[in-house]
Symmetry: C2
Subunit: 430 residues, 2 copies
């Protein structure tokens, strides 16, 4: 077993790059990448890092040289033979050859494109421009690098045993969550914590601990490298990135209104079963479901990623009923701001009424709150998003106005087009 | 850094012998051994294991084959060249050549003598007979083997991550003690926890963590192997074994009454300074101090190892005053049943009035209480004592009647000879 504290202490990770593989990324990124590679290979997209927690002044905490070193290392990575074999030969969601030979050939030759890095007002401005299928693969490693460098900065001056006790406390904290979750019948949860993890080694530890502690209640991880190394299921479907770029490419309000359904129409052609999961909140869940074509009601489930999760699940249940579907055969995946108490509460409320699943992120892989004296590891909200496509800004509304993104006038236009009324704001912690 | 949990999990310690060196023992054992080697090399003594916690049925918990294997391994040990060099060349208590060439030559050729092992009523009867200087060296390794085998039995069925979380919790618990002790000015404490440690690796971890966490407040360890490996002070002076055997050898009541002073007269010839520490409680502290010759009042300090520690320290202060000594120049070493709150309380009560020091044992190196669900690692009271010398039973009274040892009629005789009246019983936890 890896002694995380010692690896942290030894030269402060100099021997451990933060991202050590192109598949040290979320599975849904690869699924979406294949879809984009097929449908929009030449679309020019810009991704940009956005720190929603302005009080965490990343450019003051993290040395620019170290950041460049880590990003340059990522640019040097290419798919290894073993990784390629795993992607080509493994069964994902019960399906062989999930990734086509054409996609795999492209992926095997891929190096990530250049990045642009500047400092501004205590923050890093980190952007990636280029062909959508290439640029999109920066999102997860860029986030993981920033998160982990911030953690390293916070731990730099700690003693060797102080560090080991820090990790001891974090392990104890996670295990207490495991012990709370173990008695819950029919629980099904997966690790969605790659992007805002404390570190790769820590995520890997968390995943293994969950495997031992929760057995079949733990369904797998979104992280492809860990899934491969630990012989687990790789979990994930699709994300806001698809409707955001499709929407930005729309040439009229009518096309804009249609864009989120176009995304899922493409997806419908490519995937079936448990990969047919609706992410309805990009421009407001209510309008999306009201206007959805009937074939979408036949999809397997809905992922609830913003707004009040219980309300979201109730709305989904009512929507399925209104379309003549039996909610007990449908899957609701909760993935927003989860921690153990919320998981237990939602499981109790919805188990039996729908199939329930949880994608547990930051509070699984980066819950160091209360473990350092100065709270230098307190969670914060960092994202890396597609901010423009073919020169047009993207917009995200979601069911929480505090998560809205994009230029103000475009947000107003999208709200009008998608008929989004009053929204309830909820604090965004991570 | 050693990953203790993984070493525990890997084949359940098959690769790690419990005692890995003849100097994996308390420093005072070696000091006493040299004194015995000089003064009583041929005295025939029997040491015997005594489990004062009858409810812990060691013979039911520990496999006899495993126990024999560990004891046999100890019999295979001899001093390595590096260990010999360290003992010959190192400075102990500011003195070079603490160990004489004659003693070192004997020690370099030593193998521990045979043991006798039987099972009786759920307990092991483990005895060692032979020349005092040889037999006495079994005490610490025998205790360490029984303690650690009992721990292994308790952990045998735990999962790999469950074990790591157990050690994470133990690390956190120890570190909380460190954080409580760190603000205490002029604190001075040492590890006395070899005999009832959870394991060698764990003691080694605790010592290093205390070193980092407490700095100069942590004076060293009684364990010679750890002191050598970690470049620390080896700490310790003498123990009840000396007066108990001297007393058993006494041919009359008058000689018996004199025996505890004879021990210290021999010691006075051999040692000076901080090694001149009186252990006054073997047959009652009050009578011992009242009857002590004046040269003993000139010694550096007193170790308080039974009875109420604050009362013992007050009595020592009053005794020094009555002999015209300045208590502020004297050292009081507390070594009985200490944990962090008691250490802080005693430090506050006596700092400035005497020089204060702590020999912290079981609750430093084996505090796993509350860390396993079935309390399989709860502390218990195991000792290994000289029970007879030249065929005569030994007796210990101490300042706590619950710690008394020996045949009833002999206890009565000793109480009469030493004028021990009513004593206050205190619970013996470890």
């Amino acid at each position: 077993m890896v002694d995380i504290a010692t690896r942290v202490w030894n030269h402060k990770w100099k021997i451990d790059p933060i991202v050590r593989s192109l598949i040290d990324t979320d599975f849904y990124k690869l699924l979406m990448c294949q879809s984009v590679f097929r449908n929009h290979p030449d679309t020019q997209v810009t991704f940009s890092l956005i720190n929603r927690s302005k009080s965490i002044r990343l450019a003051d905490l993290i040395d620019e040289g170290e950041l460049r070193e880590q990003l340059d290392h990522i640019r040097s990575l290419s798919l290894t033979r073993g990784e390629s074999t795993w992607l080509r030969g493994n069964t994902f969601y019960g399906k062989r050859q999930m990734f086509t030979p054409a996609f795999m050939e492209w992926f095997e030759n891929l190096r990530l494109p250049p990045y642009h890095l500047e400092k501004h007002d205590g923050q890093y401005e980190l952007t990636f421009e280029g062909n959508w299928p290439e640029v999109m693969l920066w999102e997860i490693p860029a986030l993981a690098v920033l998160m982990e460098l911030r953690g390293r900065a916070a731990l730099r001056d700690m003693g060797r045993f102080e560090l080991q006790v820090l990790y001891a406390r974090a392990m104890t904290k996670l295990w207490e969550k495991v012990e709370k979750l173990r008695p819950i019948d029919n629980l099904r949860l997966a690790d969605f914590g790659t992007r805002r993890r404390h570190s790769f080694l820590w995520q890997d530890w968390c995943v293994q601990a969950m495997t031992e502690g929760l057995g079949e209640r733990f369904a797998g991880t979104s992280n492809c490298l860990i899934a491969k190394n630990r012989d687990m299921e790789a979990i994930g479907t699709n994300a806001h990135e698809l409707p955001m770029v499709y929407a930005a490419l729309a040439d009229s309000d009518a096309a804009l209104r249609q864009a989120p359904y176009d995304v899922l129409a493409d997806w419908h052609e490519e995937h079936e079963g448990n990969l047919r999961i609706i992410l309805p909140d990009t421009y407001g869940t209510k309008g999306f479901l009201d206007g959805a074509p009937d074939w979408l009601a036949g999809w397997t489930g809905i992922r609830i990623d913003s707004g009040d999760p219980a309300t979201g699940a109730e709305n989904a249940i009512n929507w399925w009923k209104s379309r003549g579907e039996d909610p007990r055969e449908k899957l609701v995946i909760f993935s927003d701001g989860l921690d153990v108490d919320k998981i237990i509460e939602l499981q109790k409320q919805f188990a039996g009424r729908v199939r329930v699943s949880f994608g547990w992120g930051t509070m699984l892989t980066n819950d160091f709150k209360g473990l350092t004296q100065n709270e230098a590891l307190v969670p914060f909200s960092l994202v890396c998003k597609a901010v423009s496509a073919e020169g047009r800004p993207t917009v995200k509304l979601s069911d929480n106005p505090n998560k809205a993104m994009g230029p103000e006038d475009e947000i107003a236009r999208y709200k009008r087009v998608f008929g989004v009324g009053e929204q309830v704001g909820m604090e965004v912690v991570v």
